[in-house]
């Protein structure tokens, strides 16, 4: 057996000599930590700590621990619901329906437009770089400005109400969906396209029979995902006046009806959970089928 060599398994710590330790250190320089690295780690932690202390001072976190009377009233209202008969449930559920409608219409229209723009922004479809880059930069602007900012702009332009919300979702989704669509088109299998082209098909038919069957499941799944995420974001577009349940939330919040606000928010959470579930089911049904 190898019990006589230095690298023998150690039975107890007392058998270990200083030479063994030194040899092990030399063999595995990183296992015992090196000074430079641990200094760096300490420096990172120290700077995070210093930054947080600075931020707590700069942003006056002490205010957190002296909550105003408002906070206490709000907390109390969360758990004590009064006059539940007078809450105008019709309005609340109409607002929720409006939210759904905004998300659905915005996503649907954006998907239609993105279907066209996606092809225009794809490297393997449009061979003119200048044109493609121009399309992409415009999409960047659509995407770079937040949906809520678009909503605010459209409220200014077309007035309060769900139309502004639909337009906001529409514009910001054109930016994102077109980008995702064009990436999907760029990642297709060339062989099917060549096969279709070899049969003498023109550009339109090549797209229809060579490309579209490959990308449609991806498009559908992405649009469904966006429908889901837009339902979430449509709930807050109303805060700037762009229709939907958010308008009811902000209205009742301003009227200091906090118990109703809590009720509406719970409803929104349930709505989002249902949408998540339904969208997952649809995605599994369609994508599972096509994906085989």
């Amino acid at each position: 057996m190898t019990t006589t060599t230095v690298s023998a398994p150690v039975r107890s710590l007392s058998e270990l000599s200083a030479d063994d330790v030194a040899a092990a250190r030399a063999d595995n320089p990183d296992a015992f930590g090196n000074t430079g690295r641990s200094l760096l780690v300490y420096a990172v932690w120290a700077s995070v700590f210093v930054y947080l202390v600075f931020a707590f001072w700069y942003f006056d976190f002490a205010r957190m621990f002296q909550p105003s009377e408002n906070a206490q009233r709000l907390l109390a209202a969360m758990f004590r619901w009064e006059d539940m008969a007078t809450w105008q449930y019709g309005n609340i559920y109409r607002g929720i329906a409006e939210t759904l409608a905004m998300a659905f219409l915005g996503t649907f229209l954006a998907s239609l437009v993105a279907l066209v723009i996606g092809f225009l922004a794809a490297r393997n479809i449009v061979r003119i770089p200048i044109f493609r880059h121009t399309v992409r930069r415009i999409l960047d602007v659509f995407r770079g400005v937040d949906q809520l900012v678009w909503a605010l702009v459209f409220v200014r332009a077309v007035g309060l109400g769900p139309l502004a919300g639909v337009l906001a979702i529409f514009i910001s989704d054109i930016g994102t969906l077109s980008k995702l669509y064009s990436e999907a088109i760029e990642n297709i299998d060339r062989k099917q396209v060549e096969g279709v082209r070899a049969t003498g098909a023109g550009p339109v038919r090549t797209i229809r029979f060579g490309i579209l069957p490959q990308v449609l499941p991806v498009f559908l799944s992405q649009s469904l995902y966006f429908l889901e995420s837009n339902t979430r974001s449509a709930t807050i577009l109303g805060i700037v006046g762009a229709g939907g349940i958010g308008m009811i939330i902000i209205e009742r919040f301003r009227a200091t009806l906090y118990d109703q606000v809590v009720f509406v928010v719970i409803n929104v959470l349930i709505l989002v959970a249902i949408i998540d579930w339904v969208s997952k089911k649809i995605r599994m049904k369609f994508i599972g089928e096509v994906g085989h």
Binding site: A55, L100, A101, M102
Partner: protein, 310 residues
């Protein structure tokens, strides 16, 4: 002579070629699916009509809206003149119309607010990551034996990320007053929920062996997490944390809409009360900031992921 059974005979005894058999089957399948497709189509169409009616998405309103949107875009365009573009202030200290200085009169104020926005995002990301770290181990199926703790950790994270940031901010503005504190807390809570979920998913894919090793030498639960799990997941945590930071920069740039600090407050004020070139001035700064931080953070993320793969 043996009688061969012709499998291509149909019920009437006629001969059928394989193509028509195939076509027949295809039609049967198509007919079976048609009912379902019709139902789905009707549902889709119904939803579409409902949406159009609810949001009053009618052609005449749309045409009107379209022209007003373009009109609005026209009003927010800056009035820049090429020959005066880089002129500074004149002797009286007022900017010359048509120059960049005139357009960005409040540049200093905007930059201060953008600085505040970035600090808000950093602080909220740090606090959110800390919250996620505290929650994620309890929300990982493989690391926690007590299913009650697991259940509550998961539900708590769901509520944190389920309520939109801007709603939490609305409440905090009301509770703690107008200012960035409300925004930071709101974004931090949302981040804790979102990051907690991602961290927990990373945790559920770790190797059990280092954890067993630490337990084997007598480490308690915290030591198992610290020395068994953390070294495996830290690069992923950093990468997710940076990604969240990018999202938080966007969030903190709009959270001011409800009075929770940052450039959003100015953006809201400018869009709501004026419709001139100031709107575009602030918007350009916001988009530039977000883009620059995205690029910077992407580099950093690549660095950490690259390290992980070594």
């Amino acid at each position: 002579m043996a009688v061969t059974v012709d499998t291509n005979l149909n019920d009437m005894g006629h001969r059928e070629d394989p193509v028509s058999t195939y076509e027949k089957h295809r039609k049967e399948l198509a007919r079976a699916k048609m009912g379902q497709n019709l139902l789905l189509g009707a549902l889709f169409f119904g939803l579409l009509v409902f949406s159009i009616v609810t949001s009053q998405f009618y052609p005449e309103r749309l045409a009107q809206a379209g022209s007003r949107v373009f009109e609005y875009i026209g009003t927010i365009m800056p009035n820049l003149e090429w020959d005066k573009l880089f002129l500074g202030r004149d002797d009286q200290g007022s900017a010359i119309e048509g120059s960049l200085t005139f357009w960005y009169t409040d540049f200093g104020k905007y930059m201060a607010l953008i600085w505040e926005t970035i600090l808000m995002a950093i602080t909220a990301s740090l606090l959110g990551t800390a919250g996620a770290l505290a929650l994620c181990f309890a929300g990982s199926r493989n690391l926690i034996k007590n299913s009650w703790i697991y259940f509550f950790a998961r539900r708590f994270m769901e509520i944190c990320r389920g309520v939109p940031e801007i709603l939490i901010a609305l409440v905090f503005v009301f509770a703690f007053g107008i200012g960035p504190l409300a925004g930071i807390l709101a974004i931090a809570i949302h981040s804790a929920g979102a990051l907690g979920k991602l961290f927990a998913e990373v945790n559920e894919n770790v190797s059990q062996r280092p954890i067993d090793g630490v337990r084997g030498v007598g480490g308690n639960w915290f030591e198992q997490m610290r020395y068994g799990v953390m070294p495996q997941v830290l690069p992923n945590y950093v990468s997710y944390g940076l990604l969240r930071f990018e999202i938080n920069v966007r969030a903190s740039s709009i959270i001011g809409f409800v009075g929770a600090g940052g450039i959003g407050q100015e953006l809201n004020r400018v869009i709501s009360f004026y419709s001139d070139d100031r709107v575009l001035a602030v918007l350009i700064l916001v988009v530039l900031t977000v883009t620059i931080i995205d690029l910077f953070s992407e580099r950093l993320r690549m660095y950490f992921i690259g390290k992980e793969q070594l």
